[in-house]
Amino acid sequence: MSTSNYPRHWKRPPQIIQHPGWRLGLGIAAMVYLVLAIGSLEIDWQRVSIGLERGQRFVVGFLQPDFVSRQRDIVQGLSESLTMTLTSTVVGILISIPIGIGAARNLTPRPVYLVCRSIIAVSRSLQEIIIAIFLVAMFGFGPFAGFLTLAFATIGFLAKLLADDIEEASHAQLEAIHATGASWWQMINYAVEPQVLPRLIGLSLYRLDINFRESAVIGIVGAGGIGATLNTAIDRYEYDSAGAILLIIIAIVMVSEYTSGLVRKWVQ
């Protein structure tokens, strides 16, 4: 068969914005905004140089970390943080599971779905630090406020991802269990749980990671833990102790990242 009669060129038609005028207009608008935005930045080079100098001292402290002189504070802060992390993650997971199931459109009636999704939305819309400031004001300085903050934040994270995972679960498997005459609880146990459990375990470990990192951050606003210790060290210009604390945080995060990766692979 001769192909000489067929056209020799083909161009991919635009997929997202089809009208050429809109494409050009949006492109120009983005460029103009970028130029204006960059023009409005005020860069004070003097402050930059002072900052760099301070940063240098920090790096020097980092290179000669001092684990010893503040050892007691560090150990106490660390154990507070780890306690806070573990308890808040466990409590958060326990509360997340029912909310996550409730927020899965394919399992629950509309009103329950809406309530659970709103709880998730509230929890997700507030950043950890804001919740921490609020709870520190309510319950005073210390790890209890931190524990509540992290448990609350865990709900938004875990319940949402669990609910999304359940909604993506294989419908055929749910239908098959449904067809045997199983009750709702039996369906959760036999059709939903096997499909989402490995991911739930993975996400829980991931959240444990996050909660440890967050525990260092919210300590700065008064919620106890290693963050408070770090904040004190920086306030006292003890960059060598601060460096030691940062190194410990990095080490712990790396270890937990690695182990959680192993566990996730294992449960698949």
Binding site: M1, N5, Y6, P7, H9, S170, A172, Q173, E175, A176, I177, H178, A179, T180, G181, A182, S183, W185, Q186, N189, Y190, A191, P194, Q195, L197, P198
Partner: protein
Amino acid sequence: MLTLKGLSKTYRTGDSALNEVSFTVPGGQIVGLIGPSGAGKSTLIRCINRLVEPTAGQVLLGNIDLTRLGGAGLRTQRRRIGMIFQEYALVERLTVMENVLSGRLGYVPFWRSWTRRFPAEDIQRAWALLDRVGLMAHANKRADALSGGQRQRVGIARALAQEPELLLIDEPTASLDPRTSRQIMRLLTDICAERHLPAIVNIHDVPLAKQFVQRLIGLRAGQVVFDGAPQALDEAMLTHIYGEEDWQPAAPEEDDAPPEPTITDARALVS
């Protein structure tokens, strides 16, 4: 015995999926349900165990009208109806044994199923069924470790674990090779004969259906347009059900045969 009376389903979008479907299936008979995609085959069998809610009509299993039930009553009746699925629909991360035992969920309380402490006779029945479908050795494997034909056997064992009085079978061979398809169909027909079970099989492979079932029902646009012995299904009837096509076995079995090349059209595209 299963009787459908004027079964209709109209979706909320206004699409009519089933229109006044009525027929009776006596015990031991396998009915093949054929028809083009979208004819309502899948909706029909799901209206019987009410995974899809029919809008009108009656479904009588024995002398109980399934369309009038709700909640616990519906669950107890669903136990009487075993369902076998396209793509098997096994819970992949559960073991083969758990999948078979899940056929008993309608009979046992939650705590028993949750702790996997099924009654001894259920476990015994499950072993017997696994033996019947030839999978005794695979009981502790995860369902996703099995081949397609083996998975469908587990699906059959799960449905039979319900001690059903009716089997609903949705495209049982859709993802199986021709030989395995025949083995599965033979197993299904043998089991229905042994247990004197009525069964409805959705099947798109007409020659396969003709080989194994005693009765065919042709569905087109939600209506029964053929109901009779497989021998009575001639080319005129196939055309009536599926639309115009060359039904000679020599013809290539392609759904979408390419049209004749139209060079003028190609020219028009770029001009």
